[in-house]
């Protein structure tokens, strides 16, 4: 059967309608497909979230024990001002105080610029560890003066003092005169470590 132009014209509109209907059907499938993919993603996320929450809840007893264990250390660090901004003035005060108390002949020091030592991921914020290296040059009468100096420094707080190196040598000066002459020289490199808890409430 061969169609005339007029008959083809009559068939054009139904054909268009059929195509529109099929297009609408395709649109329905596409929409459903998009929605399904989104729903499956959402379900996977929710499942992961539930898994994490459940696991965290299951670990709570262990966590409680861990918190109780660690809280004292944390509070001690806080009390010693190891947690918080560094306190360079307090460090300078401590150096002066130790020199005076121990009657050290000569104490020279230089604190380098602060640098980031470590950034540990936490929640809600990271815990950043900083170090400032202090180089100390001491004139000593006796070897024990160095050990006393280091002990005093540790007791002064305001940072965790990690001694990296120390060298000690004789000055060659013989004692016995009226004035106190240093017999030994010591040079030490000490990291002054502080930390900032970005997740802590102010």
């Amino acid at each position: 059967m061969t169609f005339t132009a007029e008959e083809l014209k009559k068939l054009a509109l139904p054909l268009l309608a059929a195509l529109l209907l099929l297009g609408a059907g395709g649109g329905l499938i596409w929409g459903a497909d998009v929605a399904l993919k989104a729903a499956l993603r959402q379900a996977a996320l929710a499942q992961r979230e539930r898994q994490l929450s459940t696991e965290r809840l299951a670990r709570i007893a262990e966590e409680e024990r861990e918190v109780k264990e660690k809280i004292n250390v944390y509070q001690r660090l806080k009390a010693l001002n190891i947690i918080g901004e560094e306190r360079r003035l307090e460090w300078a005060d401590a150096m002066a105080r130790i020199r005076a108390q121990r009657e050290l002949i000569d104490v020279r020091y230089r604190v380098e610029r602060q640098r980031l030592l470590l950034s540990a991921p936490g929640k809600p914020g990271n815990v950043d560890f900083y170090a400032s290296t202090m180089r100390v040059d001491l004139a000593l009468l006796h070897e024990e003066d160095l050990l006393r100096f280091l002990g005093d420094l540790r007791d002064s707080g305001n940072a965790y003092y990690a001694v990296r190196s120390c060298s000690m040598s004789r000055t060659g000066n013989a004692g016995g005169g009226a004035t106190l002459v240093p017999r030994l020289r010591a040079e030490c490199s000490i990291d002054l470590i502080t930390m900032i808890d970005r997740g802590a409430r102010q």
Partner: protein, 512 residues
């Protein structure tokens, strides 16, 4: 569904019925003369593009059984058209009804029933009027063409049967064999009382039976033939009283109302007789075989094609909607699953929050508390202090009073760094091998003659060995005299005693 118009064509008057929702309504009546045709044309003018069928109920019909080669498609159509043209002068209203395949010798043939009207001239002006008006002609049917469908609806699906109905045109008798029309005739019938009509039915059926036997359409030894008689409404009892079965004919009478219910005709106009059944079947389920040519039905075919195209689109939409619906069911399930998981996660988080609320009060989160303390502990464990080394050295020196220390270097570093202490300011990094504390001790050996190099060497070696105890490991010893084969050995025997011999000892300890 759109209404369909059916022109009921008889020898006298022509009736135009409108069929919709199982009901028949008489829309117009036309006389068979020229004014009738004019009125019909006028009627059609207001119903352009309407859907029409023609149901012919005329006496002059021809039925001729023939055989053609078993063919398909256009070849079959061409052969049938040739056979029709050979038998009928005017093939405008001629049809070939298939009676099934038959094998004769080695050839396979198709039995066909060629049928037409002896006088098509009376129909032509009416069909021309339909064509001129632009109406869509679905088909031209005759009452016999619809008789097999009526028989099926009334329970006769196989075997031989006469279908007898009283229409406005007369008494219509159709002979049907296994659901196929074989013969039909229309006998004019005047107004009669039921008993007379029943007797007329009986006598005419007997005549037809004898005629068909003569033609060998009905075999002589075929046994009794069923006669299905549709009695006018309320006349069934009278018919049954008259129509007694015998050895040749077995009568079964069906009331008109019962027959109408069987075919699904809900309502018909008053005065419409048995033709109502055929008209309803022509409107509701017309047979594929009819008299109009495809040229005359062209508008109808295009219209059907239009509907088929849209229906295909709609079907596609429905299929897509069903498929999308199934996907949406999956979406709903996935969402409810996600919601369930989210609820469980919230419950777990709430329980966690309730429990952690009883923890000691801190100014930080539990996570940060753990991280801060753990990392600090790690740093502190990696740290070292010189005090322990100094104490160890002091204890060893007490055992060796003749040794005097000039310088002491202590530092921490990785094994690869050798004895060199870590450069100041270097960032401490955890090492899988661990870090080392390294001490370099330089000094002199007093109270021993310089010339006693064996004694001095032995003392320094003992001193170094003493340093390499209590967890410390001796790394390097530089003796006052180089006694190795690689070194240079010098001496000044008999010379003046100058400085005490100098040595260097390096020892290490692995840091935790």
């Amino acid at each position: 569904m759109a209404a369909k118009y059916i022109l009921y064509f008889t020898a006298e008057d022509h009736y135009l019925y409108r069929a919709a929702r199982g009901e028949l309504a008489l829309d117009a009546k036309f006389s068979g003369d020229d004014p009738g045709i004019s009125a019909f044309r006028e009627y059609l003018r207001a119903r352009k593009d309407a859907l029409f069928s023609v149901m012919v109920d005329l006496a002059g019909e021809d039925f001729h059984e023939d055989q053609v080669p078993l063919l398909r498609g256009r070849d079959r159509e061409a052969v049938l058209q040739r056979r029709l043209a050979q038998r009928y002068r005017d093939t405008r209203l001629a049809a070939a009804l298939s009676l099934g395949a038959v094998t004769t010798g080695e050839r396979r043939n198709e039995r066909v029933l060629l049928t037409s009207f002896t006088n098509t001239q009376s129909l032509a002006p009416w069909l021309d009027a339909l064509d001129d008006s632009g109406a869509r002609l679905a088909g031209v049917f005759s009452a016999p063409l619809l008789a097999p469908a009526l028989a099926t609806r009334l329970g006769v699906r196989s075997g031989r049967a006469f279908i007898v109905t009283a229409t406005s045109a007369g008494l219509r008798q159709s002979f049907v064999e296994d659901g196929k029309l074989r013969f039909a005739r229309l006998e004019r019938a005047a107004e009669m009382v039921p008993q007379a009509l029943a007797m007329f039915v009986r006598s005419e059926t007997l005549r037809l039976s004898q005629y068909l036997t003569t033609l060998r359409v009905l075999p002589r030894d075929a046994g009794p033939v069923q006669v299905l008689v549709v009695a006018p409404a309320g006349q069934r009892a009278a018919f049954e009283q008259v129509l007694q079965s015998d050895a040749r004919l077995v009568f079964r009478t069906v009331d008109a109302a019962e027959a109408e219910a069987a075919v699904g005709l809900k309502r018909k106009p008053r005065g419409t007789a048995g033709e109502g059944l055929y008209l309803h079947l022509a409107a509701k389920s017309p047979p594929r075989e009819q008299f109009a040519s495809s040229t005359e039905r062209r508008r109808y075919i295009v219209w059907q094609l239009q509907r088929a195209v849209v229906a295909t689109g709609a079907l596609g939409l429905v299929a897509c909607a069903l498929f999308a619906g199934m996907k949406w069911l999956d979406v709903v399930q996935a969402r409810s699953r996600a919601e369930l998981q989210a609820q469980e996660a919230r419950r777990a988080a709430d329980a966690y929050a309730r429990i952690t609320a009883t923890f000691p009060v801190t100014h930080t989160s539990t996570e940060n508390l753990k991280v801060a303390v753990t990392e600090f502990t790690r740093i502190a464990q990696r740290g070292a202090a010189p005090e322990r080394i100094f104490a160890h050295l002091s204890r060893v020196l007490e055992e060796f009073p003749q040794f005097e220390i000039d310088s002491l270097k202590w530092g921490t570093g990785r094994p690869g760094d050798g004895q060199a202490p870590r450069p100041a300011g270097a960032t401490p990094k955890p090492d899988p091998q661990g870090e080392l504390e390294t001490v370099e001790v330089s000094g002199r050996v007093n109270a021993t003659q310089r010339s006693d190099y064996r004694g001095i060497t032995a003392q320094v070696q003992r001193f170094a060995a003493a340093l390499g105890t209590a967890g410390f490991q001796l790394t390097r010893t530089q003796l006052p005299f180089d006694v190795t084969s690689e070194g240079t050995l010098t001496g000044d025997i008999g010379g003046a005693e100058t400085d005490a011999p100098r040595f260097t000892v390096v020892f290490t300890r692995k840091m935790p």
